[in-house]
């Protein structure tokens, strides 16, 4: 824990810092609660009333924004579920089973951690075009399933489970699959929840791949749709509405953050190197 008390100067700086952190968020919220016409040319009008919820009503009335929300939910949940399944399977394979090329394959997977997404995005785009997977849910989810970090994470965690449990299960007549399903997997639940939260967040906030793969506006995720709305700002309904969309897009993510705070903090502590 920290040593000593914070000086008054320290407190003042903290408060100023917090104000700087919060001010843009508050500003956005206020803008979203104003009638659009009132804001034209006078954005400072946001600092005082009257406030209205009409922009939010418009969002729910607008099928496109809600469609974006649905897309984000489907893609993020699907990616998360998919990642958990295949990284658990792969993690068990690497951690517990012995098969030809095991070491080589693991190293190849680890090397993937060093590859930035730009190095592969163009050929990926080409590939998905050949497979006719653009503008589809599978197309949006598949790249997210390729998570070398997830495999590394699950493998490491599973390696930490004492091998005596596997041995006892073998003597109990359990097949490899049964050991995975009934003994190892239930013991990885903390790791699963951490990986799930990170995968979900990463998928939800992903701008890069959905931007390139989803070219039809009804297949945008919320993140991409918001960017498109931003660019069309001049032609669309107005500043208040735009900001309401921003707030709307933030709500799901804040909910996840608040509910899963523990997992996030624990994961940070885990990845830290001593």
């Amino acid at each position: 824990m920290a040593r000593g008390r914070l000086t008054p100067l320290g407190w003042a700086l903290l408060v100023i810092g917090a104000a700087i952190m919060l001010a843009p968020l508050v500003w956005t919220l206020l803008l979203s609660l104003k009638n659009n016409a009132a804001l034209v040319g006078h954005s400072e009008a946001a600092l005082h009333g009257p406030y209205t919820l009409e922009n939010y009503a418009a969002i729910f009335g607008n099928s496109l924004t809600t469609r974006w929300l649905l897309n984000s939910i489907i893609v993020s949940l699907g990616t998360t579920a998919g990642v958990l399944v295949i990284t658990s399977l792969a993690g068990y394979g690497f951690a517990r089973l012995d098969f030809p090329f095991r070491r080589t394959l693991f190293v190849i997977v680890l090397l993937g951690l060093a590859v930035p997404s730009q190095a592969v995005i163009l050929p990926q785009h080409q590939l998905f075009a050949w497979l006719h997977l653009h503008n589809s849910y599978p197309g949006l989810m598949l790249p997210g399933l390729v998570a070398p970090f997830g495999v590394f994470f699950m493998t490491t965690y599973m390696r930490g489970i004492p091998i005596e449990l596997d041995e006892a299960a073998m003597l109990d007549g359990a097949s490899r699959w049964t050991i995975f399903w009934r003994v190892i997997l239930p013991l990885t639940i903390p790791a699963q929840s951490t990986l799930a939260v990170f995968t979900f967040l990463g998928s939800w906030n992903d701008y890069w791949w959905p931007l390139i793969s989803a070219t039809r506006s009804d297949m945008y995720t919320l993140t991409v749709g918001l960017a498109a709305a931003q660019m069309n700002y001049a032609q669309t309904s107005g500043l208040g509405y735009l900001m309401a969309q921003a707030v709307f897009a933030s709500i799901p993510i804040f909910i996840v953050y608040i509910v899963f705070q523990k997992q996030i903090v624990r994961a940070m502590a885990g990845t830290n190197v001593r």
Binding site: P24, L31, L97, L226, Y257
Partner: protein, 290 residues
């Protein structure tokens, strides 16, 4: 346990490995191939060897985008590291207040780049933005952050620092909690002042975390895209175009896939080189110091 080398184990890793091969390894190799070709939208290309790379070397726009990327990274990483460290040091206590502050400083990190740029566009815009309104209220002319060539990169940097505070702060907090108490107690017995304790005990103990944060953030900011595209569209006149934005525009606006692939490979190499250098340099320092 010496199990039999059983090919059935492959079945467990197969789903991941197959996807990995298809969606990462194959494109990685294909990208290299593409960079050696002149390719258009429909994939029909012809081999041009290293011509794309030669062209890149002479391309002033690419060079400018690289410079911008380096500049903005240099603007962000030191400031971000110091601020996050300071926050972690200040907030590493068990009080409710500290928890609230930690939550506040982390809140921006969960937002997507599109939300963040949307918010900051209307903070920085001189006519409709928060800062603009504030400046006007104080009687000053608002700064044209997003349209002035000298202010565009700082604007990106400012936005990114605001956005990226959370994770480094958490990493430092976790690192601080692993510093053994007895080191502080020994320092107290040795009558060390708070400043000395900070510099000679805490910071060296956090060495590995600091290195990790710097390496991760450098790699991340070298890949900056969204802020550049959405806040300033790389402008004015390319003053804030990052390397990845260059890549994006070359590939998806001009449809020069081969050329863009070459740029992607160059960027990949740069990031790799920077990361390896950082790792090696800090490794050497560890061997000599401490």
């Amino acid at each position: 346990m010496s199990g039999t080398r059983d090919w059935r184990g492959l079945l467990f890793v197969a789903p991941f490995v197959l996807l990995y091969g298809l969606i990462l390894v194959f494109p990685l190799l294909r990208g290299l191939w593409l960079s050696l070709n002149q390719v258009d939208l429909f994939g029909a290309g012809h081999f041009v060897g290293a011509a794309n790379y030669a062209r890149l070397a002479r391309d002033p726009i690419f060079a400018a985008s690289l410079m911008n990327t380096f500049e903005v990274t240099l603007m962000i990483v030191p400031v971000l590291t110091v601020l996050a460290l300071a926050l972690a040091l200040a907030l590493n206590r068990a009080t409710k207040g500290a928890a609230i502050f930690r939550g506040i400083f982390f809140s921006s990190a969960v937002l997507s780049v599109t939300i963040v740029t949307l918010i900051w566009r209307f903070v920085l815009a001189p006519d409709a933005g928060l800062l603009g309104d504030l400046w006007t209220a104080l009687g000053w002319t608002p700064l044209p952050f997003l349209s002035d060539a000298h202010l565009a990169l700082p604007a990106l940097a400012l936005t990114t620092v605001w956005w990226s505070m959370g994770f480094p702060m958490l990493l430092f907090l976790a690192g601080l909690q692993q510093v053994p108490e007895d080191m502080y107690e020994a320092a107290a017995l040795d009558n060390a002042s708070r400043w000395t304790t900070l510099w000679r005990i805490t910071v060296p103990a956090l060495r590995r975390t600091i290195v990790l944060v710097v390496m991760l953030q450098t790699a991340a900011q070298l890949q900056m895209f969204g802020q550049s595209q959405l806040l300033t569209a790389g402008g004015p006149s390319g003053a804030s175009r990052t390397a990845v934005l260059f890549l994006f525009e070359t590939a998806f606006a001009q449809w020069q896939l081969g050329y863009a692939s070459a740029a992607a490979e160059v960027l990949f190499l740069i990031i790799l080189a920077v990361t390896v250098t950082q790792y090696w340099a800090t490794g050497r320092a560890t061997a000599q110091g401490k």
